[in-house]
């Protein structure tokens, strides 16, 4: 690897000046997994975007994709097309595709 600082290889979140909502729309369009802190979770209508909230774990750790703060008790959202758990939330009738 080159001498580039490692943080440049880690996603920094939305760009400066980009509204949170626009950035979330981008993530949804790419079907990326989404990590949200407790402050931002209620602003994200995951069902509308065909996401489900992963409940296998109570919390995950990571940088909030909304406000970019590190959250110790964040919620984790997965696009329905990646459903791999037979008992997962299938609120939109997605087909379970085992991996």
């Amino acid at each position: 690897m080159s001498a580039t600082p490692l943080h440049q290889y880690i996603y920094q979140g939305r760009k400066i000046g980009k509204p949170e909502g626009s950035y979330m729309d981008d993530l949804c369009a790419m079907r990326s997994c989404i990590v949200l802190c407790w402050r931002c979770q209620h602003k994200f209508d995951h069902a509308r975007h065909h996401y489900y909230k992963d409940r296998k774990f109570d919390f995950v750790r990571g940088k909030c994709d909304g406000c970019r703060t590190f959250a110790m008790k964040a919620g984790f959202y997965v696009h329905g097309s990646f459903l791999t758990d037979e008992g997962g939330k299938t609120t939109h009738g997605q087909t379970w595709t085992p991996r």
Partner: protein, 238 residues
């Protein structure tokens, strides 16, 4: 592969990492930081037999292109990873190099009767053998030689009984590192394994029989045994 649990307990720690230029990472594919391509500039998929510098598996899919793709679209893709070195991943057993291939029976014609419970026709040495139907359905043993289990099955093997087998297990001489399927999202469970894959090691197995579609519904839970954060201080050589 999908995240099953964290061995040490606690919470999954998720980070989005950049994907190497020209690389597409599929959801559920094993990923690694280095080792596959010299001087890579982002995450790579593991190969079917190597996961050095690994980081478990991808939670979503992403791709990067070297060339710019426009002012509004970032040409770099980012893949979500769980960075816990002791993250355990649930991987489906596939009977071939292609994903979702049904597992083959040890003997397609069924077994010959054996009152000792030790002779399994077609069983491969060092593979896990489990009963698909018959009196031994649901019981599992590890073959210690071709067509032989030294720790015998608890019931007599009747003519026509069928058994399944998988290379992925954690017993014996640790030579049973699994080989992954072509898209590195599942385990090619009936491919003979090399002694030094050193990629994913089995924690536990979900081996199912005829009552639960065992040929297409069996899994193992693995940890990335060559995790980049699990061997702190090791040099990245590429």
């Amino acid at each position: 592969m999908e995240l099953a649990y964290i061995l040490g307990g606690g919470t999954p720690h998720m980070i989005k990492y950049i994907v190497d230029g020209g690389v597409t990472i599929n959801a559920g594919a094993g990923v690694r930081f280095a080792g596959g391509t010299a001087n890579n500039e982002g995450m790579l998929e593991v190969t079917t037999t190597a996961a050095d510098g690994g980081c478990g598996a991808a939670l979503d899919e992403a791709a990067s292109t070297d060339a710019q793709t426009g002012t509004t679209v970032d040409n770099a893709g980012f893949v979500t990873c769980v960075v816990n070195p002791d993250a355990a991943w649930r991987a489906k057993l596939s009977g071939g190099a292609a994903e979702d291939t049904a597992l083959d029976f040890c003997s397609a014609a069924g077994q010959t009767a054996d009152a000792t419970g030790a002779a399994v026709v077609g069983a491969t040495d060092e593979f896990m053998i489990w009963g698909f139907d018959g009196a031994n359905a649901g019981h599992v043993r590890r073959a210690t030689a071709a067509a032989t289990v030294a720790l015998t099955f608890p019931n007599d093997i009747a003519a026509g009984d069928r058994f399944l087998e998988s290379s992925a297990n954690h017993y014996g001489d640790l030579a049973s590192w699994p080989t992954l399927t072509t898209n590195v999202t599942q385990i090619a469970a009936q491919t003979a394994v090399a002694a030094a894959n050193d990629n994913y090691m089995v924690v536990e197995s979900e081996l199912r029989d005829v009552s639960d579609s065992g040929r297409t519904n069996s899994f193992v839970i693995v940890v990335c045994s060559n995790h980049i954060f699990g061997k702190l201080g090791a040099a990245i050589t590429s």
